[in-house]
Symmetry: C2
Subunit: 225 residues, 2 copies
Amino acid sequence: MYMRDRSSKTASYSVDVIPVTAMGNELAVLFARNSTERERWSLPWKIPQTGEMLDAAAARVADDALGESPAWMEQIGAFGDGKRHPSDADVSIAFVGLVPHETATPRTGYAWFPMRDLPPLSPRQRAMIESARRTIEGRLDQAPIAFRLLPATFTLSELQQIYELLLGKRLHKASFRRALQAAWLVEPTEEWRSEGRGRPAQLFRYAPKKRRRPQRGVRFDFLYP
Amino acid sequence: MYMRDRSSKTASYSVDVIPVTAMGNELAVLFARNSTERERWSLPWKIPQTGEMLDAAAARVADDALGESPAWMEQIGAFGDGKRHPSDADVSIAFVGLVPHETATPRTGYAWFPMRDLPPLSPRQRAMIESARRTIEGRLDQAPIAFRLLPATFTLSELQQIYELLLGKRLHKASFRRALQAAWLVEPTEEWRSEGRGRPAQLFRYAPKKRRRPQRGVRFDFLYP
DNA sequence: TGACTTTAGTCACATAAAGTGACTAATTCG
DNA sequence: CGAATTAGTCACTTTATGTGACTAAAGTCA
């Protein structure tokens, strides 16, 4: 295991990844089993080589854990508060990654934990996971990240469930579909899927079309000073 | 000047600050004159002490440059692409800060540069500044950052000009004021200011009132896949 | 089989938000 | 004084969003 001299004057960092997926009807995060304390878990991380790009290092961390790179990944910042961290680095540069649950099988030594039932973690790791959750929620209306949690084809009800999960509230079916229609983001396939009870649902795929920029004015949507 | 061994295995970082203000009718960034090459400028930075919080280090960097801490500051991430940087650190952890132009007087060795006429910079510094610009624009409807570029009292026309500057487009006066009214963010003072020609304008202050959370559904507002 | 339940998909109307031009008000300039 | 300039407001239009009710196609079960 990597160790460094705490008295060194150089401020050091590690690259940590928060891999997120949608398991059932809640979000889940991937953890790596601790090599020394077998009952402890931590977010996957590494100390990048000199000259290695940050996002490349993060992609490698995710790949080592899942055998594939996340469908979407974004840096969520550097975290320096809280003392203990597996890497012993002063700060963690964190990335959040989204993977569809269907194709994401963790390698041995890694496991998914539902967001609401995480293993014991250091304050820094809890802060990073909370920041990841907020980043996902905030990106939702800025980038098509919800589709990155679904397989290539999906029903509109599945898509709506993902949005309800990420937003933490129910959405009205008609409003959701009208907005989706207006956004030209999905197109229907020829296939239908019967889930047992109820009318079969048509399968759609993510296929964004060009459209004009919605020219809106200002928004004062924030709540807190 | 701080130097470190490039062959060291420890990945190192510096803390860089992008201080932003509104000068006339465009944004400006504060730079520090390079100590060795007198004609070069760079963003203010430092290597934090071990154990020093990142935001505390950033506040100190800004304070050294301006004699005051920014009215608003936020970390915008870690930047590792691009080779040359004054600090010689592998990555820069960047913070964007907003200061009202009226009270922000740079110390000797520092100067404001308008966004559209920046001095020659390394790719990494250009990337950080561009990211700062995007962060400001994106935060605009999530936090009251526009008020952080204005003095304590201001006219609604001044406020609208700040928004037009940050959004890069003209806004309709009536729409702007209607939205502002609905947001309960400002309250009028007893003072009026005459700018020479035209009717005098009433002065307002930033005084947010509590209000219910705007319960909106989904937004598919993004343009790019 | 046929009534009932369940999920998918759509419609029409009501309400809320945003875009827009035109108006009045108060000041300076000539 | 009257034109020009900036502030502030109004009323109307257009667009977006909220919402309940409807039809459609499947399974369940007496």
